[in-house]
């Protein structure tokens, strides 16, 4: 492209014009501007409250707790999910049935009910004891509410629930790997577990990561369900404040700002993971919109003689 060999048989074509792109772009931009302006100038929204509570220490603590729970629950549930997915695809019928049952129960019942179950385990079993079932023989016994405090219960509920969903995603990722890969690994004498971790999962990652990104973001927001067992994460804190001062819209906006921020932060690792596991794949990664806009502007600057705005993005080089 930079070569200046301008012989007459060179392809120095006039790039395809896309007038509609610009019309649509302008319309979209205008629409978004109208929305933002009307939100900003709306008399029902008290901006002072928003800025007052955005960095309120209780809110910031809530953010930290939400993030902590999300990260821990996602990491642990992913490990469990891999285990369940492997069991589900294994030939062993016992494992298979167990994994199926697990997914059925944990996906099938509302998370809220699972949270209530773990949170109020003491309601059903005031003592947890280890012993021989259906007899009176017990090895030890401990008060449930001591063993499972609210935070642990919340974490447990989210993790076990998420594992069921993750298992399905990971299973589908593993199915997307070419069977030839299993054969190649087997013919090299690789063990099933080595094949799983070094051959299958890395290739499945490309398919697994985007839905797992979805799940992570859902998880972040599901932490709000922990309010039923009084874990003081972001949403619980915000509704506590708003139920006192009745500034519900403003506090929902504060929460939205934080969630948008956290979501954006969490999608950075996703982007790099996608790139990492996309290596060796012919289909090139689309750059982030920011990168695209910057490079489009740069390109526009370097083509000053062009009378109309053009787009050369179509070029594959």
């Amino acid at each position: 492209m930079d070569a200046d060999v301008n012989t007459d048989d060179d392809v120095a074509a006039v790039p395809l014009r896309h007038p509609w792109r610009w019309v649509v772009a302008a319309a979209l931009f205008l629409g978004i501007a109208v929305l933002v302006v009307s939100l900003w100038t709306n008399p029902n929204i008290h901006h002072g409250t928003i800025s007052k509570y955005l960095f309120n220490p209780k809110i910031v603590n809530g953010v930290g707790l939400s993030l902590l729970i999300t990260v821990v629950a996602m990491v642990v549930s992913t490990v469990l999910g891999v285990l369940l997915a492997v069991m589900r695809l294994a030939k062993n019928p016992v494992m298979n049935a167990f994994a199926w049952l697990y997914v059925w129960v944990f996906r099938g019942t509302p998370l809220l009910i699972q949270i209530v179950f773990w949170g109020y385990l003491g309601l059903l079993y005031s003592q947890i004891s280890l012993g021989v079932p259906f007899t009176d023989f017990t090895i030890f016994s401990v008060d449930t509410n001591t063993l499972v405090p609210a935070f642990t219960a919340g974490l447990l509920a989210l993790t076990l629930n998420q594992a069921a969903y993750s298992a399905e995603i990971i299973r589908s990722g593993m199915l997307s790997v070419d069977p030839g890969q299993h054969e190649a690994a087997a013919s090299l004498g690789m063990s099933p577990s080595y094949t799983l971790f070094k051959v299958v999962l890395p290739q499945a990652m490309r398919v697994i990561i985007p839905p797992m990104g979805n799940e992570t973001i859902s998880m972040l927001k599901q932490t709000s369900l922990l309010s039923v067992i009084a874990v003081l994460e972001l949403y619980t804190v915000a509704t506590q404040i708003s139920s006192q001062n009745l500034r519900q819209v403003e506090l929902l906006l504060v929460v939205s700002c934080w969630y948008l921020f956290l979501t954006s932060v969490l999608s950075v690792p996703q982007y790099y993971l996608e790139r990492h596991y996309g290596r060796g794949n012919a289909a090139q990664q689309a750059p982030t919109p920011l990168v695209r806009i910057v490079s489009a502007l740069r390109r526009a600057k370097h083509a000053p003689t062009e009378p109309t705005p053009t787009d050369t993005r179509g070029r594959k080089s």
């Binding site: 070569a3 048989d9 060179d10 392809v11 120095a12 074509a13 006039v14 395809l16 080089s317």
Partner: protein
């Protein structure tokens, strides 16, 4: 049999004077590496041209440029007098819109090195997909035609098998039938016989020859010197992105002038 493959378009190439395929000074870069360094060649209607050359010489890349799967960075390619991927108006060259490019590609069939059959369609569906979906040919008719084509490549009995159930050789033959189903003016083959069973290579060559007789033009990348010698009207030897030598098979294969051609042919035969 010929009736199956002969079509009005194929029998009457638009310009019999001019070559059907003309490439002049075609260049192509991948990043900073120039893979094609100015390829110029012509293929007349009804001719079979074989492209020979060592691995990495750019044969596949050139083939992909012909039907605009790759955008060229310099030079011109035209098929039947029409510039591929560009339109010329008032002395200027404009990029073509995607719909027009699709139209051009319909006239150019391609058979890939790795088959690229649609795995979710059985052999018959693979063949009918484009005629029915793109050319809007009546389903019953397309199906009948597809069965004839399958029969021609010796696979009538696997019409309802999915690609994963076919051996490599069978898959490649389905891929050829699929390309033929669009009645292209020009057929591009990227090592079509490398995965084909030797017993059936002959049959496929027979099909190709009958197509050539009906005015079908073919560009075949191959390592099968025997085929090039017997079937080609013209042989082109490429290396490092340039045409080293070209001419009649008898000239290039049996009496090569360039030392690189000589060494390549020695290693192959």
């Amino acid at each position: 049999m010929n009736g199956v493959l002969a079509t009005p378009e194929a029998t009457a190439p638009p310009t019999t004077q001019a070559p059907l395929l003309r490439a002049s000074n075609v260049r192509k870069n991948y990043g900073n590496v120039q893979v094609l360094k100015g390829i110029s060649l012509t293929v007349n209607a009804g001719e079979v041209m074989c492209l020979l050359g060592p691995s990495g010489s750019g044969k596949s890349t050139f083939l992909r440029c012909i039907n605009h799967l790759e955008r060229i960075d310099g030079g011109r390619i035209s098929v039947a007098g029409e510039l591929i991927g560009y339109t010329q108006r008032q002395g200027r060259i404009f990029e073509m819109n995607p719909r027009e490019v699709s139209r051009q590609r319909r006239g150019i069939g391609m058979v890939f090195q790795r088959f690229n059959l649609f795995p979710h369609m059985n052999a018959l569906e693979n063949i009918c997909a484009a005629p029915v979906g793109v050319k809007r040919i009546d389903k019953q008719h397309a199906r009948k035609r597809a069965l004839e084509l399958l029969d021609r490549v010796g696979l009538a009995h696997v019409a309802t098998s999915y690609p994963a159930q076919l051996s490599g050789g069978q898959q490649q033959r389905v891929a050829i039938a699929r390309a033929l189903a669009m009645d292209p003016q020009l057929l591009l083959f990227d090592e079509p016989t490398s995965a084909l069973d030797p017993e059936l290579v002959g049959d496929v060559l027979e099909v190709m020859r009958s197509l050539a007789a009906d005015g079908m033009t073919m560009v075949v990348v191959t390592h099968e010197i025997g085929f090039a010698r017997s079937a080609a009207d013209k042989v082109v030897f490429m290396d490092g992105g340039v045409v080293i030598e070209s001419g009649l098979p008898a000239e290039v294969i049996d009496n090569p002038q360039n030392p690189r051609t000589v060494s390549f042919l020695n290693s192959v035969m």
